[in-house]
Amino acid sequence: MAKYPPPEELIKINYSTPPTSWMDVPPEFKPGNFSYPAKPDILKYLNFPNPRVWSPMDDDWKLPENWKEIITEGFRERLDKYRSFKIFMDVCVRCGACADKCHFFIGGGDPKNMPVLRAELLRSIYRGDFTMAGKILGRLAGARKLETDVVKEWFLYFYQCTECRRCSLFCPYGIDTAEITMMARELLHLVGCNINWILEPVANCNRTGNHLGIQPHAFKDMVEFLCEDIETVTGVRIDPPLNRKGAEILFITPSGDIFADPGIYTFMGYLILFHYLDLDYTWSTYASEGGNFGLFTSDKMMKKLNGKMYHEAERLGVKWILGGECGHMWRVINQYMLTMNGPANFLQTPVSPITGTRFDAAAGTKMLHITEFTADLIKNNKLKLDPSRNANFKVTFHDSCNTARGMGILEEPRYILKNVVPEFYEMPDNTIREQTFCCGGGAGLNNEEFMETRLRGGLPRGNAVKYVRDTHGVNTLACMCAIDRATLPPLCDYWAPGVGVSGIHELVSNALVLDGEKKRTMDLRQNPLPGFEDEEEE
């Protein structure tokens, strides 16, 4: 199990820089610092170039014959398509304000994980190929030649960036390394260097509608299974609608929550809430994935996967879409969806059927965030809540990078939490809201083989959690992201043992008092409620 060093060792981080110039330091692949390459049959299914069996540890990466041309052409194409890319290549002044803002640098100390240097990995090639000074002066102008080592370095470091945009917040020109990473990953795809943890979900999502490749009948089984658990806890039988035409609302959430602990409790939370409201809604097995690993692949793939949401909404004839707790899903919905697949004129601006509130913030996409929906319910006193049922939990909240810096949904989840749990504490200011730190596994890096680097990158978050654990006795880290629910538990076990992870709607439905429910003696996890601990033992 313990393939990685213990915290005492991992914390010995050296922030000093080596005497050799970074251009002369070759990339070094070690187990734990890279993700496994995409399998050839996956690439074939997706029609991606250069499917082959290879490993980053190999000397020969079996790049296509004319890989240099391919990359240079791809580079040129993207410079012409994205103003962001062009400007970010040109204007960095290397002030270093972003240098220590990246969790991978803070937790690892590798200078190439300073956002500015990560970008220079690409910028140095840009100078050499596309600027006069770089062509003439070469290295003096900060330019270098495209060699295989450069591709290897890109693969290493652009798959050590979680596209969290924390660096962008601090940059005086808003240079967004996430944007640069996206470009670099697209270039790497052109020559067949990509990772399986992203492309397999992409392939699955395309065919079955979700990352896990859950087929429709299995999806139904899993939902039923969760409903049985709900009945055990609440005594209430729920029969949720699937693929139902004519419903008012289509609900879409990440599939990660349907099968794994602790995501399933959030999933159950949705089921309970919608049952309580007697909501006219439906799930879809076809659009059963809110997450979109296309965002970590290419704009084309992102568009293709995202297209299902509107396609299904139109087919089912719903009025609007409600979206579950997820990070990057919401970056896609907020910043890309309407541009890629809009306009959505067959839908209407979301109006809460319970409170009548019209959500103009979603007037374009017609897609509402579940915490906006629930916060509005609570504000209008539509939920009967008993926070004491969450008295076992002392809660803090982790802002997902994407919803914080790619949307700005900060207050809604907090408002809900404060209404459903008796004790809530914030982590230190520099680690929350827009300054929040990544879980270490975003942008498709939440795989097992990458665990050591994830734990390093998770240091800032883990340490902040540890701080509230030690000062306030916090034992629960709430979040509203399915990737977080998968990545934060090992992170907490490592950096802040004793702290568990939960979703917002898990805590909501713990507190929600249902009509006809039996006397609750346990929470959704089937742990005894406060006051019932003793009975358990009898």
Binding site: Y15, T17, L79, Y82, R83, S84, I87, D90, V91, C92, V93, R94, C95, G96, A97, A99, D100, K101, I106, P111, M114, V116, E120, T131, L140, A141, L169, F170, P172, Y173, G174, D176, N206, R207, T208, P216, K220, L242, N243, T285, Y286, K304, H311, N334, L338, T339, F359, A361, A362, G364, T365, A375, A404, R405, G406, I409, L410, E411, E412, P460
Partner: protein
């Protein structure tokens, strides 16, 4: 290394002007032709760079949001850091450009082994000196307008008056000059001694610093030490702006030619360097766009309508049997 090279290049430029306008006597070249050329290169280079940026599309609406979005009416929106409309965005940009707001957020990481504890200290030095550098630079440029205008407009005279209000020395010392030099030195020393910044620095970081420092020092030298003949200088500069360039009869100290040559080099270098951040900051999509793409549609000119989702029909074809068996509704019966 990069710092040394840059230093020697700037030194070489100084020597070149010194020898060229002095020994060789090419005053016309250094006082007239090169400045004109520099101006042309600057204007042309600057504009073409800005145009090349401006004509590149902004496919997606990707502001980096730095505060609460505008959603429910009872939740307080942060209109400057997460603007949802044009006016908020203008304020965000103004704060960014005029007060370096993002840099003001700067923190520095502190790692304590016992605990362990990761801390984030406020680190405003870079912000402070960057602000000092840019504002004193701006003041100095504005003050120089008195050499290119006749009569000199009132605001510029006022500016000069306040800039020298401390009345130190003869000719009186401008405060902006002092602040400018101090700020440049800070930025330079930071580049040398902060190991992270040192590691990322290349020649194009040191060169402009040294060049600007040399411009400042040559300017101060001619004013305070060589005490150049200001009337003669103005004769030359006015000749330049009125397109009747002359080299004045009265001799002008050689330091003036060094100064104007370095300025010319800066002008020519500007459009091809990171100094273009001056233009780029206005065009950066993560800052100059409102967070409104959920409210209204942002159009991507190269959006490809041919990219379609794997359709529901294809999905149902794939799984129809299983769906029917599970009791899920289907569009087409088997």
């Amino acid at each position: 290394m990069a710092a040394f090279y840059s230093f020697f290049v700037v030194l070489a430029l100084v020597v070149l002007a010194w020898a060229g306008a002095g020994e060789a006597g090419w005053k016309g070249l250094f006082g007239i032709y090169i400045p004109y050329l520099a101006l042309l290169v600057f204007l042309f280079g600057f504009l073409s760079k800005i145009l090349s940026w401006a004509k590149t599309p902004v496919p997606f609406c990707i502001p980096t949001t730095g505060g609460q979005q505008k959603s429910l009416p009872w939740i307080k929106n942060n209109p400057w850091d997460n603007p949802y409309n044009a006016s908020g965005t203008v304020i965000r940009m103004a704060l960014e450009v005029l007060t370096f707001r993002s840099l003001f957020r700067n923190t520095s990481v502190q790692l304590q082994q016992d605990g362990p504890k990761v801390g984030y200290n406020s680190a405003k030095w870079l912000w402070l000196f960057a602000l000092m550098f840019h504002y004193s630079f701006l003041l100095i440029v504005l003050r120089h307008l008195r050499l290119f205008t006749n009569p000199v407009p009132m605001p510029i005279l006022k500016l000069e008056f306040f800039d020298s209000i401390l009345q130190i020395g003869v000719p009186v010392l401008y405060q902006s000059d002092m602040i400018f030099v101090v700020a440049i030195l800070f930025l330079f020393l930071r580049r040398v001694f902060d190991c992270k910044v040192n590691y990322i620095s290349i020649m194009s970081d040191y060169f402009p610093l040294f060049l600007i420092l040399a411009i400042a020092l040559s300017g101060m030298w001619m004013r305070y030490i060589a005490k150049v003949d200001v009337i003669a200088v103005k004769e030359l500069t006015m000749g330049l702006v009125t397109f009747h360039p002359v080299i004045p009869k009265d001799p002008i100290d050689i330091s003036f030619f060094v100064h104007i040559f370095l300025v010319s080099v800066l002008f020519m270098y500007f459009p091809f360097s990171k100094l273009m951040h001056m233009g780029g900051v206005f065009l950066s999509p993560t800052r100059n766009m409102p967070n409104f793409s959920r409210r209204q549609m942002w159009v991507n000119p190269w959006n490809d309508p041919a990219i379609k989702a794997h359709s529901y029909a294809a999905y149902e074809d794939d799984f129809r049997e299983k769906m029917i068996e599970a009791g899920l509704p289907v569009d087409k019966k088997a």
